[in-house]
Amino acid sequence: MNSSTSNSRGALIIRSTAVFLVLFIGYNLAVMVAKPAGSFLQSQPEKNAAVADDYILGERAADTVIVGSSLSARLDESDLGPGFLNLSFAGGTAATGLEIVDRLERVPKLVLVETNQIRNLDSSFVDARFSPLGRFLKRRIPTARAKYRPVNLLLGALRKKTGREDLTPDATVFANLLEEQRRDYENVPDPEWLRSSVTRMAQQVASLEAKGVRVVFFVLPVYPQLRDLPKARDLLQAFHTTFPPPGNRWIECPPGDFITADGIHLVPQSARLYAGLLLAELRHGPQ
């Protein structure tokens, strides 16, 4: 009696494992054969990981790499051209992108560094991307990559025909969000922390320049009222002090009517407009 019960109990585990193996192997084989494009990534952390993985695994080469925060993550590569790759991370900072570019042997010709935000380098994120086991699995097993997750492929297929939405934010919502940003921008960054963060970036920039990479700094437009508040002012000053022009190439905040969703993040049509200006500056400005 006991033995038969034990056998039937073991059967559940064996059968479940068999179902798992069939699904896992079958799905991975199907993805390998079909090579589906147009995955939709569900969240910011997932997007950050996927962008970094694509670049690190060499699936996406580029002459120009943009590094920055969620502000520059709004710049669409299709508005910039085939030679561009946007390695900006929402919730992150340019230092994380610089670290990834610096750790790889192959380097781009040009790196564009966003100077609107500064946060600590996310070492655990970078280490996870460069883990040998992780890279090994991601190269061989499609489902080790976020973009091949079943839900992401399903959503990607559903959204294939949907273009980008050009939305103008609701006035009341915008006022509330702007007020939140204003409070944040009123904060004076800790000078010591700011100095050490920019110094760390200077080391990364020096390392890239030693490899022959040209580095250009740029400032994205934010809502005019925010530009002179302590956070924006101190940050830009720290960058200008550490990377002074004209020895370092700067693309300063352009004049013009840029619309943001919350005071700092450009809406798609403004991001497109800024991308055009950035391209023009790179083509026609001083080399």
Binding site: R9, G10, A11, L12, I13, R15, S16, T17, A18, V19, F20, V22, L23, F24, Y27, F40, Q42, S43, Q44, P45, E46, A49, T143, Y148, R149, P150, V151, L155, L158, R159, E165, L167, P169, D170, T172, V173, N176, L177, E180, Q181, A261, D262
Partner: protein, 474 residues
């Protein structure tokens, strides 16, 4: 150390291998204590001192009760044990809240006072303190009855050893289930590999990891937008969807953790109590609290509500007791008044429900009425979770205002779709309960291996970014 981390899997594998080695059989409990200490100390080693201190306090006070002959001495030890337990909890968890509530500004306090007020909360202290109190009170109750205590070791050092194991056992150390002394201590004894219950362990672990890694960790990335100021920009339907998603997430997160704890305990030969029984099918608030975080609600009933008089001292006293228990139960969750308000909401709901039901024993049951009741209880519970997600009242009020105001904003359909996709398994899990015992369940029972296989597949290919368990903060 998270149950979902690689370091935990390595610790678990090493512990499991050593635990069942025949020549180490007499050290099984010691192996689990050492593993539990490594587990607990992995993030902040100094926290181990608090855990050991708590174990020592409970071992000494309960042994004091055990050895005392007079009722007065037994009571003295019991009061001392409970007071020191509560003192530790209040000191580490609530001193900052009390100080601030009295008008103090923590940032202005210098020296040792400032240091003491900013000590980080020792993880799991709310859980292991309640387990310690249960040991002291269980011992006192058994001793008072004058009967031999079946779960008590005869020597102090053996008792200290068992107490440390009972409190520190890693599957339930950080976030429960809150195990009572009389449930756990009698189970301590030699365990054999051949007697291991593989199937329940497998079921608990697969379901638990699925709920945590696939459901909670993916919903977490959507409900992130409940945080201020982001929620201000979402439409009314999105805000309602986010709340619904958070309700699903918190269930999947905590029930998932509890199931993993049950499965882990099972593979070492220990059985922990069920912590969840399909809470979102509850038709009344009192039923909800027999299905949600059962180990906490039974603890509160056994060690607080009944000692306060329960429902034996008249209507007024019953309402007061319900209210007090829920207020304190809310505050147990976190050192912020919003948790107390959350508990109070539930206390008021329970009191109102009791008032409306009166003494009527009549059970009117109709599927449509039951369905409406379920929806009502679920909606109330879900709205109240907002106090968990947004500990500042101002943010809660803004969120509710935004729900009323943002009717004209465009709908974020992808967000709604993702919430629906990841909530579906939780709904099916509850629907499965409703079909329990029926013909459909019997027919499906033969095919449940497919369900476990699919869950394993989704754990492998659809796990979200690893996040801390929500209840770790308590």
């Amino acid at each position: 150390m998270l149950f979902t981390s690689l370091s935990f899997l390595m610790l678990l594998s090493a512990t499991f291998a050593l635990y069942y080695l025949p020549f180490l059989a007499r050290f099984q409990v010691l192996i689990l204590i050492v593993a539990s200490f490594v587990f607990y100390a992995s993030a902040k080693p100094w926290l181990l001192a608090i855990l050991v201190l708590s174990c020592a306090v409970n071992a000494v006070s309960s042994f004091g009760i055990f050895r005392s002959e007079s009722l007065a001495a037994q009571r003295g030890w019991a009061v001392l044990g409970v007071a020191v337990n509560l003192g530790l909890l209040v000191f580490f968890k609530y001193s900052r809240l009390i100080f601030q509530s009295l008008g103090g500004d923590v940032s202005q306090v210098q020296g040792i006072g400032g240091f003491l007020l900013t000590i980080p909360l020792p993880i799991g202290i709310s859980f292991f303190t309640f387990q310690g109190i249960s040991l002291v009170i269980d011992t006192f109750r058994w001793k008072k009855k004058g009967e031999p205590i079946p779960f008590f070791a005869r020597t102090f050092w053996r008792h200290f050893y068992n107490t440390t194991f009972f409190k520190a056992f890693f599957p339930q150390l950080i976030a429960g289930p809150i195990v009572k002394a009389h449930q756990f201590l009698p189970q301590i004894g030699p365990k054999r590999f051949s007697e291991l219950n593989w199937e329940p362990a497998f079921r608990f672990l697969v379901t638990g990891y699925f709920l945590k890694m696939v459901i909670a960790d993916n919903l977490k990335d959507q409900t992130f937008w409940i945080a201020p100021p982001y929620f201000l920009g979402y439409s009314t339907i999105n805000l309602a969807g986010l709340l619904f998603g958070y309700s699903m997430q918190i269930f999947a997160d905590f029930a998932g953790y509890s199931l993993i704890a049950l499965g882990l305990a099972e593979i070492f030969g220990y059985r922990l109590p069920q912590n969840f029984r399909f809470p979102y099918v509850s038709r009344t608030f009192s039923e909800f609290w027999t299905r949600w975080h059962i180990s906490l609600s039974t603890w509160l009933r056994e060690y607080l509500y009944i000692p306060l008089g329960g429902n034996r001292k008249g209507k007024g006293r019953t309402y007061f007791n319900l209210f007090t228990v829920m207020f304190l139960g809310g505050l147990w969750h976190g050192a912020a008044w919003s948790y107390a308000v959350w508990g109070t909401f539930h206390g008021l709901a329970l009191a109102a429900e009791r008032l409306l039901q009166g003494n009527s024993q009549e059970k009117r049951s109709h599927w449509a009425l039951d369905g409406l009741r379920m929806v009502f209880v679920f909606a109330f519970v879900t709205l109240a979770w907002l106090l968990f997600k947004l500990p500042h009242f101002g943010d809660v009020i803004e969120y509710v205002k935004a729900m009323g105001r943002n009717t004209g904003l465009p709908l974020n359909k992808v967000m709604m779709m993702l919430i629906a996709i990841y909530s579906l398994p939780v709904l099916l899990y509850h629907a499965h309960h409703l079909s329990e015992g029926g013909a459909l369940e019997k027919r499906l029972g033969e095919w449940r291996f497919i369900g476990y296989g699919v869950m394993l597949f989704l754990i492998a290919v659809s796990a979200g970014g690893s996040g801390e368990f929500i209840y770790f903060q308590f």
